[in-house]
Symmetry: C2
């Protein structure tokens, strides 16, 4: 790979990106585990480092009202509408170093490359480091991109973190004014498009042996909370025929959900990630079980049908077992399709760099889910090892980081606003 | 029921037993939830109250070296071997009031009845309140009965409760000498038999519409700890076909265990009471699941075959799903059969009191499991409402407490040592 691109500008980009990924990963709550939570001192230190890199790349840089890092590289003349690039710079707890920072740092490095070459385009480029995509600290996610899209819900300011600090207090401590978050909102006419590069966080590109992939849509998701109530009892004294075992019922539901999704041919995924059986003792028949269901697919109408089918199956199981059921939708978000005109330009850039054009949906959520309210959205995925993400083992090969940068740079230089 | 037995001595026994059950239940760690744990101040207060009642019943009473409450009612002459009656006076957390105390208080009241009538028998009667049957505080159970049977494991003295206190320290604080627990052991020749009355803790007698039942055996049990390891992953990004979901695998195992036990015709019961899925987030495919299995039946050879069959099924499921399995037996106890000669005397007493003789195994463990090492054992079960036990709703009807007392008193008065 190195030989193939030796001497090209993008080769040095790849090196720079990996170096910066490592530098940013050193800014963490603890030195053993990468954790960088919204509005903490390390979050602020990371913002400062990102702004330094932005300025080195020839951009103006500032923090907006919610803590987004905003860099702007003017076009052929000042004040032109922008192509916005970006990703988030907060992390989950005990995170990998690539989820978020790869897209952000790659965008900064691409701009730096243009700047070194004195290249100005017929549009501005803005790079945004979104302050909170993971939603670890407060109850809501996508806080940074929602503020930019003008859809930030001010009632979230009253929500508290585990220590009891409100978002309002945290913003003030960070040096921001919680009464002026509206100032972060952008006018739709200022943005020509939003394009995000991100690690795939799944194993599909690896299975396809491809460094990059073109995202078709960010899949919609429905999350359900299920509670089954039966009758607790002594594990030794209640004959099988007299039991109303809530965990055996939940197990049958989990098997049914998996089977339903596995027989699907349209990319439906269903996950039970959390389960709790009460009272939870070896020698007591569980009287109550709660579990969650997460259902995703790239077509909203299809997801809704699937959820209804799954709920119907659970109702049948529960009725047959004489259990009580409480089932609620706790979260629902619609599919965000990537704009065909923009997705085509991403695909063209992939092909121009010599890679097979492979399309896939994003099962994970991204800032594009909020940005769709203010601009057309597209995404480029970069392969990550084993599909592992949200884990210290998260890894992107140097060559893949470089491939992503080359595609993104090609996309920027060839970008044509929507006709 | 009252009309039927009005004026008999045993009627007043029933009233006295229920009154004492309620008085003992007031001695608890907290006033809202009945909790009386081994070697706590409330455990000591309960022991004192029990000894008061024993002395009122004409017995000598003392605490032995492990904290068992020991009462002795001499026979026709001092120093005769005894028929030992008893049950435990510790409780689980948030317990019912009948589990343990019913058998102990009924035995005291029966002796009190003999004493009021000046009745002496050709054998002594001893009533033992076992100090720790539930094993809530330290890792081991049956501490009281093991000490009497001479099978107490002295290494348990080093085990610690949640607060870090060792059993040795707790015994000392209670006023006992941990270096002389051996003094609690009885010689086999001192005991003619051990008979325990206990609530059923299951729903069988209720289903049979019978106040009492004759126990055939205390079922042996095998407990297993199972750990399945797959691959954690993002709930949105990993296609179903590429998953190694440890919870879906565990669910299939739980369904298989239930099905296996349900198709059995010989009283086999299997329970998964505890489950934990890691990392346990709505949007993460579980990479690791641990759960427990509890298997019981009244025939040891049959239980072993059943455990082997279940393990084989789990191995097949795990292999097909490409998961890693760690499965270990964490606890195993053999079936304790009730001695035929003694069980027959219990059955005769049941019949003499006008009840249908119904036999059933005990799926729950009892002090008889330890006492078998020093004496032949039999048990009489009393119906409990809904089969509920280890719960504040645990309940025995007054009439059933009375029925149990009449049967036990009849058994004592007609008792014939083994020929």
């Amino acid at each position: 790979m190195e030989a193939k691109v030796a001497g090209s500008a993008s080769m040095s980009l790849g090196d720079e990106i990996v170096r910066r990924i490592n530098a940013l990963a050193a800014i963490s709550e603890t030195s053993e585990h990468l954790t960088r939570i919204f509005l903490t001192p390390e979050h602020r230190a990371a913002a400062d480092l990102l702004m330094t890199w932005m300025r080195e790349a020839g951009m103006q840089a500032h923090l907006d009202a919610i803590g987004n890092v905003c860099g702007r590289y003017e076009g052929e003349r000042p004040g032109l509408p922008c192509l916005m690039l970006g990703s988030h710079y907060d992390t989950v707890r005990d995170a990998g170093r690539w989820d978020g920072p790869l897209g952000l740092i790659t965008a900064i490095s691409c701009v730096g490359d243009l700047n070194r070459r004195g290249r100005r385009l017929p549009f501005a480029i803005e790079v945004t480091g979104f302050a909170d995509e993971e939603g670890v600290r407060f109850a809501s996610t996508l806080l940074g991109s929602r503020a930019i899209a003008g859809t930030f819900d001010e009632s979230a300011l009253g929500s508290r973190d585990r220590a009891g600090t409100t978002m309002r207090q945290a913003l003030t401590l960070f040096g921001l004014d919680p009464d002026h978050i509206g100032a972060a909102a952008r006018a739709p006419g200022e943005l020509l498009a939003y394009v995000e590069l991100h690690i795939e966080q799944g194993p599909v590109l690896e299975a396809e042996k491809l460094p990059v992939g073109v995202v078709t849509a960010i899949s919609g998701a429905t999350r359900l909370a299920v509670e089954l109530r039966g009758m607790a009892g002594h594990a030794g004294t209640v004959p099988m025929a007299l039991r109303r075992d809530a965990l055996a019922g939940a197990a049958e539901c989990i098997v049914a959900i998996e089977e339903f999704c596995c027989t699907d041919r349209d990319g439906l995924v269903g996950t039970v990630g959390y389960i709790n059986a009460m009272p939870g003792a070896t020698n007591v028949i569980p009287g109550m079980v709660s579990f969650t269901i997460d259902i995703r697919t790239a077509k909203d109408s299809y997801r809704k049908l699937a959820v209804a089918d799954i709920v119907r199956q659970i109702e049948e199981i529960v009725k047959r077992r004489n259990l009580k059921l409480d089932i609620n939708v706790t979260h629902e978000n619609r599919t965000v399709p990537c704009a065909p005109w923009l997705k085509q330009q991403v695909a063209d850039a992939v092909a121009a760099e010599g890679f097979h054009v492979f399309e896939l949906p994003s099962g994970a959520g991204h800032d594009g889910m909020a940005m769709i309210d203010i601009a057309d959205v597209a995404m480029l995925f970069v392969r990550c090892r084993g599909g592992v993400s949200h884990h210290p083992d998260e890894h992107v090969e140097d060559a893949d980081a470089d491939a992503g940068a080359r595609v993104l740079l090609r996309l920027i230089e060839n970008f044509k606003p929507k006709a």
